[in-house]
Structures are given as structure tokens and as C-alpha cells.
Symmetry: C2
Subunit: 191 residues, 2 copies
């Protein structure tokens, strides 16, 4: 495709879409601004017109996930009992993992994304608040193990390439069922 | 430490131990034979005396996991019903994930290891047979989702750095409990 196309008419969303595809293929580290420009058939300058660094693009890709997460934390924190807060958090976690299946596949376990999240106090704070809701006020080992198993299980299956043919509806329904079966194991051992 | 130490007296196990630590820190791709030699305080030639390539070392690191896996597959395949085969496979998967916690942390999701496993027909065959036992003869979507959730949940929590303080016994007990709770969800929808 032609180089040096005018930045007009190529939207921010097209950059994010191209970046997400490339991140999925090469990891965030293995993707350059030039590769994103090439994928869009525009110049690197045209990409710079929208975003000033690859980190800025990566943050914009994961922002909708964190927007959902902070909403979920606010809803759950306002609930009356630790049990109700935890149930809301798990249901919300399943919903988020399914809705953001493609982004989660990139987001989950990428060292560059992990570094970005750690460097942003507000993202780090959201994760810590969600973890606290999931673990409850005084987590014992059984509760911690169950929650770790649930979180990696839900994200792992939502991003499993072998399940790419499964609809969001089926994935949501079955994961919620699985999560609700595991949940009592985390609670029953608590005082 | 001194260079060019005689290969005598430094065992194969010390190389594998050093390699595993380095793989965990830098990934398999980010680890060189020189780094392994430096960690042991020996020359690269001394490492070559034991292993002829990094791939050979990586394969030797994961071999005990596959030895356990093929034993598990043989035991499960010999059982009389699909339900019994599946239960044995899940119980064995939990046991393996916990016993090989450190190796699994490296093994799980490393692209170099994935490539090595894919290139070895006998390893690939073992994984396929275990997957077939776990999924049962005619897996529907719910069964596939549950098994994906179980496998990534069990391996994810067994390798979760936040659970490094949890004993193998507790981890095994709680993961088995979680897995047994999820299992009926995979089976009940089956004809």
C-alpha cells in the first residue's frame, strides 16, 4: 500500500484494531509503530499523529478492560456483605473475560502489559481492590488457592485458541456455572 | 568463579537446576548456554560436555513431566469407563501440576517449550491422548469449556507466584476439591 497517506480519515480505532492484531501475533514487545503503520498502509508519522508511543497504544487497547473493572469494583464495594461482594466480583470477572476475549488474550501474561499496569497507580489500585473483594477480608490458604484457580481458569479458557469457535453466550454460561461451583469451596473453610 | 573447571564432578542435575532457574527468570529464549555456564561457574565447553544444545537442556528439564504424563495416560486408558478415565486423568493432572510446580511455571506458555513439544511426535501424542481422556469420546461445547477452565486453572494456580508460600499438600488438596466440583458440570450436559 501507499506510504505517507494523510492522517485524516483514518481513525484512532483503526490504529487500535491493527495494534491488537499485531500484539496477538508478535506480543507487545515484538510489535513496532512501523509495523502498525505498515499494517494500516500509512506512514509512521500518521500513527504518531494519533499516539505518541507504543505504550500509549497498548494502554489505549487495555483501557476499556480497566474501565469495566473499575465500574465492577465500585458496584461490588457498595454491596452489603462480603459474600454478596464476592459473588458480584466473580460474576463480573466472567462477564469481562468473555466480553474482552481478544484483548484478554494479549493482556493476560504479556510482560510489557504487566509492566505498564504496574507503572500506573490507578490501574494497580483497581486490581488490588478487585483482588481484595475476591479474597474477602481475611483470606486463608484455601480461599487464596480457589480464587487463583478461578481467575486463571476463567481467563485461560476465555483466551484459549481451541475455544475460538465457541460463542460468547455459551462461554459465559458455562464459565459462570463452573465459577459458582468452585465458589463454595473458597467460602466454606472460612470462619 | 573460576572459568574452565573440569567437567568431572559437576553433574547433569546441576546443569538442569541452573537452567531451570535461568529459564524462570529470563524465559527459555532469553537464556544462553553461556549464562548457564556462568551460573555454574564453569566453561561453556563443560556444559557442552553434558548437553549439545539449549533445546536438549530444555527437553531434559521437561522430560520428568512427560514421563509422569505418559504413565498417567497409560493408567487412565486402561480403566473401564469414560467417567473413570476422566476422573483419573483430572486427579493425575492436579498431582502433576503440584509436583512439578517449578517446572510448570517455565513449561506453561513458554513459546520455545511449546515449539519443542510440537516438534516431538511422542510428546505431542501424549498430550493428545490426555486431552482425549479429559474431553471424553464426544465432547460438547460445555465439556470443552470446563476442561479448558480446569486445565488453565490448575496450572495457573500451581504456578502462581502469589501462592509460593502455600505447601504442596494444601495446594493439592484444595485444587483437587475445586476440580471435583467443576467436573460434574462437564459431564452432566453430556448425553
Amino acid at each position: 500500500m501507499a506510504k505517507a497517506v494523510s492522517p485524516r480519515g483514518f481513525a484512532r480505532e483503526r490504529v487500535l484494531e491493527a495494534a491488537l492484531s499485531l500484539f496477538a501475533e508478535h506480543g507487545v514487545k515484538g510489535t513496532s509503530l512501523q509495523m502498525i503503520a505498515d499494517r494500516l498502509g500509512v506512514s509512521k508519522a500518521a500513527v504518531y499523529y494519533q499516539f505518541h508511543s507504543k505504550d500509549e497504544i497498548a494502554l489505549a487497547v487495555i483501557q476499556p478492560v480497566f474501565d469495566d473493572m473499575i465500574r465492577l469494583v465500585r458496584i461490588a464495594e457498595a454491596m452489603s456483605t462480603p459474600e454478596a461482594r464476592r459473588e458480584a466480583a466473580i460474576s463480573g470477572m466472567v462477564e469481562m473475560a468473555v466480553r474482552h476475549r481478544r484483548v484478554s488474550a494479549v493482556f493476560h501474561g504479556d510482560p510489557v502489559i504487566d509492566g505498564l499496569v504496574h507503572s500506573r497507580a490507578e490501574l494497580q489500585d483497581t486490581i488490588e481492590r478487585l483482588t481484595e473483594i475476591l479474597l474477602g477480608p481475611e483470606p486463608d490458604d484455601a480461599g487464596r488457592i480457589c480464587m487463583s484457580m478461578l481467575a486463571s481458569g476463567v481467563y485461560g479458557s476465555a483466551t484459549d485458541p481451541a475455544l475460538a469457535d465457541v460463542s460468547d453466550e455459551d462461554l459465559h454460561r458455562v464459565l459462570l456455572d463452573c465459577a459458582q461451583r468452585v465458589l463454595p469451596a473458597a467460602s466454606k473453610v472460612k470462619a
